[in-house]
């Protein structure tokens, strides 16, 4: 498996244009809200999470990663009727973690991206679960098979999303 330790000098750092930085997360949130109406099974995916991980691992900047994750999460929260901050906190943690990991690991190949997506999907779900249950008091049901299936499905889709993001990222 091609997760290789890479020195800070060896890793490539990318950036995204302003239109891409604004429109891609917006499109992800939009599609996440729209597609499940036509294809209910799509609700197991979390496109905004995949975009958060993709941006964070490409930029390799923890500050940018956590802010991007936080903003995407808050926007996602705004479309639900739950208190704003549940997705915000979860994606802030994921954005920070993914960008920090991106500094240390080479995440340019599909295998590494697959594993990273599964890992951060699990982190996201755990953080969300803890906050929703502990802080907000929501009734939450945790199902291991469901989470595992969702994690794999998101990882597969994540590999495709990262390939699309590769087309719009620019080398610094």
């Amino acid at each position: 498996m091609a997760i290789t330790y890479t020195s800070g000098e060896q890793v490539e750092v990318y950036r995204f244009s302003i239109p891409a930085t604004v429109l891609i997360p917006l499109a992800a949130v939009f599609l996440q809200a729209f597609i499940p109406l036509r294809f209910p099974f799509f609700v197991i995916f979390d496109l905004p999470l995949l975009v958060t991980i993709g941006f964070a691992t490409a930029r390799r900047n923890p500050l940018a990663g956590l802010l991007t994750g936080g903003l995407i999460g808050i926007m996602q929260d705004a479309l639900t009727h739950q208190p704003i901050g549940l997705y915000g906190i979860s994606k802030t943690v994921v954005g920070f973690g993914a960008s920090s990991l991106g500094i240390k690991l080479d995440v340019e190949n599909a295998g590494a991206r697959f594993l990273i997506t599964i890992f951060f999907f699990a982190v996201h779900e755990v953080v969300y679960f803890l906050i929703a249950r502990g802080l907000v008091g929501l009734r939450m049901a945790w199902s291991w098979p469901h989470e595992l299936l969702s994690g794999i499905a998101n990882a597969v889709l994540g590999v495709l999303v990262f390939m699309l993001l590769d087309r719009v990222k620019q080398r610094t």
Partner: protein, 425 residues
Amino acid sequence: MESVLGRYRNLIVLVGVLFAQVVGLAVQVKRTTPSEPTRLIRIWAIGAVTPLERALVWAQTSTGDVWHNYFYLRGVRAENRALKAQIERMSLERVRISQDADQARRLQALLGFKEQFISQTMAAQVIGGSGSELSRSVFIDKGSRDGLKPDMAVITADGIVGKVLHVYRSTSEVLLINDQSSGVGAILDQTRLQGILNGTPAGELVLGRVMSDETVPPGEMVLTSGGDSIFPKGLPIGKVAKITPGSDLFLNIHVRPAADLSRLEEVLVVTKIDERQAQPEQVGGARAIDILAARLPSVPSKPENTEKSASSGSSATPGSVAAKTPTTGVAANGTPATGTSSTGTPKTAHPAMPGADAQSNPKATPPHAGNGAPAARNAPNAKSTAGDSPGLTSSSRAGASTPSPKPVNPPVDPKPQPDSPDTPH
């Protein structure tokens, strides 16, 4: 100090951002009502996303309309024939139902009952959702400028969908009934057990607060009870799917929703619910008592009395039925007889109805309509039957009536017509 801040800058920012969000979350949780600061963020997000959704839905609908209305017309002729046949069947059914409704109104008036009915709805298109498994809500393309307000009921032809949660200018958020924060007052159609229907985190519907010693058959229809002051009474919610033991002494009744909540396209928002008391002028007290008499279980009369009254023919007043049957019925139920007689005296009970019924529509009131339903049972409905659809009542009403012994029937028709094949023998 500066070196420490520089070294841990990322972590410090992370902790700061997380802390700010946690505080914001705690403030929202502590508040009981939604307020403006968070609403602004929601307005921005919804303002950014819903125009795209609206445009896409419009494009999709337009394309579909063009295809279905101008090109894809295969099978339309056969479908038209089937629909016409269905209309005929439904017209007959409508007559029966209107009779039931008339009867119900008369009974409601007797009880001083206030009925609720949907007087105004607004069609709306579902344009988006929350995109989260833990927030089961959808957005519709109608908002405050269309007159929508929070807590309005949202339904489809199949059953209820949810209620309006937040209203924006041109869109509204609808909380679905299978969301875990949703609650609907519900009643089981046959057993008349009431409970509260809640959503679960998995998106299922569970009817709670039904005692575990009750028997609930799977497949039974679940309706709104009207107790939540949002949904009018009697709207379909779904069917009982399975029953499991719940906490304490209650059952968990899993309900399969009647409306497909995962594939909503068009919905109706109930914008006006009227509540009115049944009009007393629609009700003859005597007629209502007659209905009650037919509904209540009765005790067979003595044969000799019946024969006597039958032989006397027109001397048997219709009031005698109204007097006899309620009294026995009331006695059978253990209710004091004075309660019944105070509602209307037997003498004033439908002096004209049976006769009018027999003249205008002789076939409408056979004394033993298939299953021994008394003519008195049919008499109150004969007025509307004669006008709407002759010949329908006897068979259709008979299914819902309480069987009653034959000897009670003769006095109902004070003017027996010898030529009529339906004259009671």
